[in-house]
Structure formats: C-alpha cells, structure tokens
C-alpha cells in the first residue's frame, strides 16, 4: 500500500497554536478547497466523487454563509479524516459527525470530535439545545456523549442502512446547564396525550373500478378523498385558507404566503427521476374541492426513509377522518410505490391533536426533541414518531393483543 506522508517536512503541525477544538489525536478547522484531495474521507456521501468535483462543491459551499462544514484533521500528519457539519436551526442547532469508516480508529476519533464540539458549543458559544444524531452502532461516540452529560432523547428505529443491516438513529441532546437550572429538565415533564392512541384499520383504496374515469389527475383514490399533483389553483386555494386560519398551535404561528411562493415551492421540484420532496394535494371526492395537502420530505433513497406531513386547510374539514384517509394513501405511496422502509414525523408537543392523529395512523412515539424552538417564556419540545413498512402492512390487531416484534436491529 502507498504511504501518504503529508507532513514529512520539519514544519510544525497545523494545529500548533490553535487554542480550541484541538484534541489528543485530531483537531477541527473550517473546510478548505485543498481538502477536496481527501473527499471520500471528508464528505459523507454514498457515491464516489473525484477531488476535482469535490473542489467545486467546497468552493460553492464556502460562498454560502450557511455552509457549516468543518474538517476533522489528524494531528500527527494533518491528514483530513472526516468532517463535522453544523446546521443552524433556531435555538437548537444540529451537529453531524462523519469519520471515514475505513480508518481502524474511526470510532475513537468520532468520540473525540464530540468531546471537543459539545463543550465548545454548549459551554462557550452558549447554544441552548444542541441536537446530536448518532447511529446506534457508534458505541464509542455514544459513550462519549453520555460522559459529556448528553441525554438520549429519541430513537428512530431502523432509519439507517449500514453494511447490509438496519441500524437505529439515536438523537442525543446537550442542553445548556444554566438554562436547565433556570427552567428544570424538560424530560421531567410528562408527555400530554389525547385520544385513545389505538391504531385504526386502513380504509380500502385502489383502482377506478366501474367508473369510466378516475377523478381529474388522481394518483391514489380513497373512499372520500384522492391525492393529485399540486397545480396553480390548488396553491391559490391554500393561500386563501392561510388568511382565515384560526389555529396557532400547529407548531408554528400562522403563515401568510402568496400564491406565487407556494406554487414555486411545490411545483418547482424536479419531476424527472428521484427527488427528496413529493407534495400531493388532497381533494374531497364528493365535491372535487382541494381541502389540504400532504407529502414526503427529506426522502433518503439509500436509507429508504422520509418525513411525512399533512395539513387540512379548512377547519371545517378537520376531525372527520379525511386527514386519516389521505395519510393512509400517502403511506401506501411511501411504502408500496417508493419502497421506503421507515417514515418519521415531527409534531410540536403542544399539538395534541396531530400527535393523537399520528398514533391512530399507526405511528409509534420515538421520543422528544427538547427545546427545539422558543415559546411564550419557555422553550418548546417536539414529539417525534416513526413507522416501519412492515408495521404499516401488518393487520391491525385488537389492542389487547401484543404486536410481535421480530425486527433485527442494533439499538
């Protein structure tokens, strides 16, 4: 094997003089164009990419203020071995750590990155809630996070594919100590729940049957609703309903959007091959009116996962089971057409109705993401849910019967 000697000269290592984010074996610095030479160590991608292509990615990223990629560098020879990406999100930024798995020391270095980054962001930058996703098979990293006082707040089952098997994605959180002293630990407050929590059977859906024509543009038909592509008139209807919304508890305040930007966001998604976002319009069959939308976001076709969302615009249509029926059509698309393995869903903790709806739709609670955004003199949590394809396909059992859990996973 060829030996790569990067720092053979007598010059001191680059970490010399750096006062923070320097550990025993590795250190962190902002990504630079020269790191493109080690792209497959630095960039967490399943696809091969040449240094020339990576250099463009880095150059383009560095022009974007939100490009939060840092290079993890080995101290002994200044060789890039991984990366840390900081995603700025409200009061709860998220950190992704990647170390080239071909290094025998990858697990140890990943743990060291957390030991450097968590105290820096939490105690020095005063991040309120640092979100830390980590694969369940990264045992050294998990041990480091727990030593640092981070708390496991959620577990998304089988969300990652690794070496031909499914692995859970854990969410740890580092909460700022002084805010904890002031407000108490959010985990101490029990989760408020409404509804029975019992999963309902999936309503029938299928082909057009004896009717001569499917509803206009229909892609999936239920008994009372159907799903279709977003067209301009649907976006206009969404805009109208935005203006008369009375609820504020969906997890965000009320939004005012123009027809134009809704159309842009929903129609401009590339329609050729794969995409990471698939929006549908929900139409009621009885009067062929657009009553809401639903879809999949952050679709990851390698890990076969996505996040689901749905919204009924007209308050008068809520609570009648139309959203439930539409969601089941969406899940059929996600699992049976796209072949996804798991679906995640995020709901603000105070939004009891949406959380109850997810439970009746078959989703299971995956945990809570603490202090995701600001509320009225407090920080608000997010409830997270997940649903696996084989759970969705399994017949609905009476609540008294236990559901067999036969999955194989690392947790």
């Amino acid at each position: 094997m060829t030996e790569q000697v990067l720092n053979a000269s007598a010059s001191p290592p680059e970490s010399h003089g750096q006062t923070f984010l320097v550990g025993e074996e590795i250190y962190l610095r902002r990504i630079e164009k020269r790191d493109a030479r080690f792209v497959m160590s630095v960039r967490n991608t399943p696809y091969p990419q040449s240094p020339a292509v990576a250099e463009e990615w880095i150059a383009q990223g560095l022009r974007d203020k939100s490009f939060g990629v840092w290079t993890v560098v080995r101290r002994q020879d200044d060789r890039p071995v991984g990366s840390m990406t900081l995603h700025h999100r409200n009061v709860a930024p998220l950190v992704d750590v990647h170390i080239d798995p071909l290094y025998p020391s990858a697990g140890r270095w990943m743990a060291e990155v957390y030991r450097l980054v968590v105290p820096w962001l939490r105690d020095e930058i005063h991040v309120i809630s640092l979100q830390l996703p980590v694969a369940a098979d990264q045992t050294e990293a998990i041990a480091a996070l727990e030593e640092l006082g981070c708390v496991r707040s959620a577990c998304f089952r089988e969300m990652l594919r690794a070496d031909g098997r499914w692995v859970d994605l854990l969410r740890y959180v580092a909460l700022h100590l002084h805010w904890l002293e002031r407000l108490g630990h959010p985990a101490d407050r029990p989760i408020a729940r409404s509804g029975s929590g019992v999963r309902r059977p999936i309503p029938p859906h299928g082909t057009v049957g004896s009717d001569p024509q499917p509803p206009n543009g229909a892609m999936a038909i239920g008994q009372r609703v159907y799903l279709k592509a977003f067209d301009k008139e649907d976006a206009e209807r969404l805009s109208q309903f935005n203006r008369i919304e009375s609820e504020t508890g969906f997890g965000h305040s009320r939004l005012l959007t123009t027809d134009g930007n809704k159309v842009q966001s929903r129609l401009e998604a590339p329609s050729f091959r794969l995409r990471d976002y698939v929006p549908f319009v929900i139409r009621r069959r009885s009067d062929d009116r657009t009553i809401g939308d639903c879809g999949l976001e952050n679709i990851d076709f390698v890990h076969q996962s996505a996040e689901s969302y749905s919204w009924l615009y007209d308050p008068a249509t809520r609570g009648e089971g139309l959203g439930y029926e539409a969601k089941q059509l969406l899940l059929g698309f996600a699992f049976d057409t796209l072949g996804l393995h798991s679906i995640q869903s995020y709901v603000m903790e105070q939004n009891l109705r949406s959380a109850a709806a997810l439970r009746t739709q078959g989703y299971r609670e995956a945990g809570r993401l603490f202090w995701k955004q600001t509320g009225d003199g407090q920080f608000l949590n997010q409830l997270v849910f997940d649903l696996l394809a084989d759970e969705w396909r399994a017949p609905v059992l009476p609540p008294s019967l236990p559901t067999p859990d036969t999955r194989e996973s690392v947790s």
Binding site: E56, L102, M219, K228, F230, K232, S271, F272, R275, A389
Partner: protein
C-alpha cells in the same frame, strides 16, 4: 364519484368525441389509437407521464416543450395512447431506437386497473408493428413487470415472445415481481436468417461460482479516497487522469470481442460525462477506478449503470484497460467489492449484466462471480454478416449473501 373536469380534446378541436382517429390511416387499434403528444395534453399528465411522482400541469407544459417537442423521431418518440370511444388520453407509448434496434415501453394510468392493461398492450402492439414491420427495424424489445399478465399475454399472442426473465426486478404495490423481456423480431429477417434462439450459446469455464473474499479490514491508513478495500485491489472515485490513461490504453487494445470491435473514446467527452454523473444528487451511473493496493496504479473500472433506487436495481459492468491484469482474478475481486457496495451500501435488491454473445470470457466470469443466466436478448447488433445477441444474467442480494466466503 364526481364527473371528471376534463375538456374533451376533440370538442376543443371542433370534432365530435370519438372521432379523433377517423382520418388517421395507421396506429389505430380496436379500442385505442396513438397520436403525437400535444400541448393540451399537459392537463392529463397523470394519465400519460411515465413517472410515479405527481407532476403538475404547469411543469408538464414545460416538459412537452422542452423534451417531447425536441425528440428526434429517428431516436425516440412518445405518443399519446388515446381511447377511441371518447378521445380521452389514457396513457402513452414510447419507442426509442439504437440504430436498427428498437425498445418499447408504455404507461397507462394505473387507476384504470385491468382495463388499462388491455389498452397498453394494444398500443405496444401497434407501435411494434409500425416500427418493425413498416419501418424495418430488426428487432423490438419490451420489458414489463410480470404482474402485467394481461399485457404479456396479449403481446405473446401478437408476435412477441419471452426472451429473458430478470427475477424480482420491479417493486409493484409493495411486492417484488420479475421483469419479463419480450422481443419482437422482424419476420422477414427471421425467414432469411432463421430463428436466433436456435443458435447454441458457446460457454467456457466451469460455470461454478467461487467463494466471495471475506471483507478486508484495513490495519493502517486506507489508500487515499478508497471506498472499498480488497486483498489486492481497492475502489476509489475515478479522476480525469484515470480517464486519460484509459483512453491511452484504448488506442493500444488488441482484443476485439469485448464489444462490437474496438472503440476509441475521447478524453473530453468521457470526462464531461463522468463529471456530470458525479455531480448529480441521484446519479444514474456510479463508476469506480480499480487500483492496485501495492502501487496505487489504476488497472480498470467497475460500474453500476441505470441505478434505480426505487426498484433497487442496476446493471453492472467492468473493464480492465491493462491487459496484464485480465484473467488473474483481479476482475473478480473488484467485482465482489462492487457487489458489496451495491447490496450492502446502497441496499439494491437485484443486479443484471448483459454480455455480447461472442464474449464467452466475460460470461464465464459472471457465472464464477455468482450470476445466473436470465435468458438471451436476440438481434441487438450487427456481427459478421448477421445480427447478433446478448446473453443476460442476474444476481439477487440474498443469493450473493448466501455465497460461501473465502477466508
């Protein structure tokens, strides 16, 4: 169900519904007919656009202008599949051409159920007869999910025949179904040359699969940009320098049976294509340079083409430009790393490989690597005074995982 809000195309054109085909002399069947896609068909996108994703009318208008209207009819044509009774567009039929050899595919709004299958079959037969019998294409190929049994039965009754079957290829309604390759050979050429299915396939090698090498664990630093490491070779992203070397070696090639003769790619075109693939968020092709661990030299490449992360399929390919590394087991070691990448990293379910009939060496290598013969696709290229064929293979993830591992 409410009445559809469709504007009848024939009414829009000032015609009575159900008369849209009356002045057309060809591509008219018993219940459907084929016509060019028109701008007004954008509103029926869900019926005819061959995609599982929702597509808006606005974007389909762009698609018609930017893609359909610019199709070269000698290379590709997409036709609307229209119901004769009321001129409603219920699907589309696409024909693409590689020189004298055609491929057909069809799409009908799946909500029409079994009725839609009969329309699709009728449209495919119309297109095949037009392209092969009237335009004198040598052969036509149509690859369908086995779940479309009505289409397959109707095509078999209209002169198509099953040429190959790729196992568990498609995901349909949550189930894996085979891909059935149906071929439609030009009857005149069959009379002149005989049935190619009668030609015996030459085989070399033992045909027995060899154990898969155990996964290699790197003891020290991995080679620069390595993604998968074997005992003697590793895979890394290809660079422009690799392409320059492959092109240099292509000029010195002595073997002529890998492909239809030797080819001489140009560096700029090859590099531009490679860059495009590497920049895509969802690449259709994934190529690796195969490098020697002891020296880092590039000796060949292994690739996945037509990567489909919904059906979880791809086609594998490999080529070793350095002749001194052919036949020494380097190719099989690299291929096993590619299979590990395809099955374990990307989670693909099944892979296929196509080999030119005369290339018995590559066919033997595939059998050794665990692939199974899936059939033959006849008459897809010219060879020495006749038309020649492919022998095709597939390999399932679970078969690959069950293969014995060498220590």
């Amino acid at each position: 169900m409410t009445a559809p809000e469709t504007i009848d195309p024939s009414q829009a054109a000032g015609r009575l519904p159900g008369t849209g085909y009356t002045e057309q002399t060809f591509l008219v069947g018993e219940t459907v007919y084929l016509r060019p896609i028109e701008a007004s068909d954008a509103k029926d996108a869900t019926a005819w656009r061959d995609t599982i994703f929702p597509v808006s009318t606005a974007r389909t208008e762009d698609y018609i202008k930017e893609t359909i209207d610019k199709q070269d009819p000698f290379k590709e044509i997409t036709l609307a599949l229209v119901r004769k009774a009321d001129d409603v567009v219920v699907g589309s039929i696409r024909a693409s051409f590689s020189d004298l050899f055609a491929d057909f595919s069809g799409h009908v709004d799946p909500l029409y159920g079994e009725q839609g299958q009969t329309w699709k079959a009728e449209g495919l037969v119309l297109a095949a007869q037009w392209v092969v019998n009237e335009q004198h294409a040598i052969s036509g190929l149509c690859q369908l999910p086995a779940s479309e049994s009505i289409v397959i039965e109707m095509l078999n009754g209209a002169g198509f025949r099953e040429a190959a079957r790729f196992r568990e290829w498609f995901l349909r309604d949550g189930h894996r179904v085979d891909k059935v390759a149906l071929e439609y050979l030009n009857p005149g050429w069959v009379s002149a040359l005989g049935d190619p299915a009668a030609v015996e396939l030459q085989r070399s090698g033992t045909g027995e699969a060899r154990p898969v090498p155990e996964k290699t664990v790197s003891e020290g630093d991995p080679p620069e940009n390595a993604m998968l490491i074997g005992t003697r070779v590793y895979l890394r992203p290809p660079t422009r320098e690799d392409i320059e070397e492959i092109v240099r070696y292509a000029r010195r090639e002595t073997e002529t049976f890998f492909d239809i003769g030797r080819h001489m790619p140009d560096v700029e075109g090859f590099a531009a294509w490679s860059d495009r693939q590497q920049k895509q968020e969802f690449p259709e092709a994934v190529r690796f340079a195969v490098c020697l661990r002891e020296s880092g030299e590039v000796i060949g490449e292994v690739s996945l083409f037509e990567l489909d992360l919904i059906n979880r399929t791809a086609e594998t390919a490999s080529f070793f430009h350095r002749p001194e590394y052919r036949g020494g087991g380097y190719g099989s070691e690299a291929k096993q790393l590619l299979l590990e990448y395809a099955f374990d990293r990307l989670g693909l379910h099944v892979l296929q490989s196509w080999v030119f009939f005369p290339n018995t060496r590559s066919a033997a290598a595939l059998r050794k690597q665990g692939y199974t013969e899936a059939g033959r696709i006849h008459w897809r290229f010219a060879n020495d005074g006749s038309w020649d064929s492919f022998v095709v293979f597939d390999i399932l993830a679970r078969e690959w995982r069950a293969m014995p591992r060498a220590s």
